[in-house]
Symmetry: C2
Subunit: 205 residues, 2 copies
DNA sequence: GATATGGCACTGACTGGTCAGTGCCGTTTC
DNA sequence: GAAACGGCACTGACCAGTCAGTGCCATATC
């Protein structure tokens, strides 16, 4: 019966913070959802802000561990990239609500208070860097263009993957499958159109 | 003396809502900034929510009129696309704060109340459709691939342009200039790499 | 084994403050 | 003179954060 209170609270907070706006959720809502006393929240979190921030941030960790562990190093570059993109896209779809919350905060990041802002920025940077690391390999192997820094390419790719999930309700793949997005990305970034990600599908140009 | 109260209020609201979070801004802040009585706000807006929503929405109109009026029809497709992208990018940079607010709301759109949600969705759709209209021309002229619907391409392009401005503070062009983004986009979307947007710059592949 | 003790996790009623929205009145604007 | 307005006081609701108190358990003491 010794349940992890912290996780309990975070879970409730995520459920609520991803379903309505920050100012529409009261701490009482959260403690009710978590089945926990109010004071307990203050044992584990500095306050409502902190709880919200940690909830939003948790997505970064999840996404990053997904990127870090999931790709076998021996595969050819394009395969690695495709797998990574599918991982990211999978996260954005599976955890759609949390992703949206993160995306929303990402836009607001710039007027966060000093410390939190730095923390958010760091998380974001780590993520982009993780993606950039994969792309860097592509550049070194001559598969991706050299005139764009891998970090910029990573931001671009992340934006592209995000664009799929924003502004649609139903299954994301309906309008624009991941494979298609990757294909779109690669043939903008690849040297002279030699690289194809999904050769067997009929959706190539 | 002062004529357009509505514009006055909207202007103040935009200044404040784009500098801090919704729940950090009080109506008193806004009327003080606008130099207007509280009752006057309620003459022109239903309430704080309405004022916020209309502020966020105003960006769509601005952006759309930019797209609609700015592109001479007689130019070749790639030129038109490049100009449109520069327009959009210009808006995203010049009105960075408002864009971020819109982007943040865009992510949250899905848990807006029924009526507002429909309104937001409609605005967004119009915008994407406006971009899609331009891309459609490219498809018909054989410059863009046919296997991706223009609407999806438009969402993709918009996401790409947005990605440049998110997560950076300084001048956006530093990391990834518009021309480069357009180039990146085109060579993913163009038929067999024939199209070049900015032939004179040295940043092409 | 029984009882006392200290400390820890937890609770929820309470507080102090905030704020959206309203109503009124004297003033400005046209 | 009527409509629009600024300013102000008010209120009813809401809510983040606090803190005194409860229960539990491991260890100490007899």
């Amino acid at each position: 019966m010794k349940r992890d209170r912290r996780a309990q609270i975070m879970h409730a907070a995520e459920k609520l913070f991803t379903s309505r706006q920050y100012h529409e959720i009261s701490l009482d809502d959260i403690i009710h959802e978590a089945g926990v006393g109010k004071g307990t929240v203050y044992r584990y979190f500095k306050g409502k802000d902190d709880l919200f921030f940690q909830t939003a941030t948790s997505g970064f960790e999840e996404l990053q561990s997904l990127i870090a562990t999931g790709v076998p190093g021996h595969l050819p570059f394009t395969e690695q990239l495709a797998i990574t993109c599918r991982h990211i896209s999978g996260f954005l779809t599976r955890r759609r609500q949390l992703s949206r919350m993160m995306q929303s905060e990402d836009a607001r990041m710039h007027w966060l208070k000093g410390e939190l802002r730095a923390a958010w920025h760091a998380r974001r940077h780590e993520l982009v860097e993780a993606i950039a690391e994969i792309l860097r390999k592509g550049v070194e192997e001559g598969q991706l263009r050299r005139d764009v820094p891998p970090e910029a390419l990573a931001t671009y790719l992340f934006g592209v993957l995000r664009a799929r999930t924003s502004g649609c309700d139903g299954p994301v793949d309906e309008a624009l499958p991941v494979e298609c997005v990757v294909d779109l990305f690669i043939h903008g970034a690849a040297e002279s159109g030699l690289v194809r990600v999904i050769p067997e599908t009929g959706e190539g140009r």
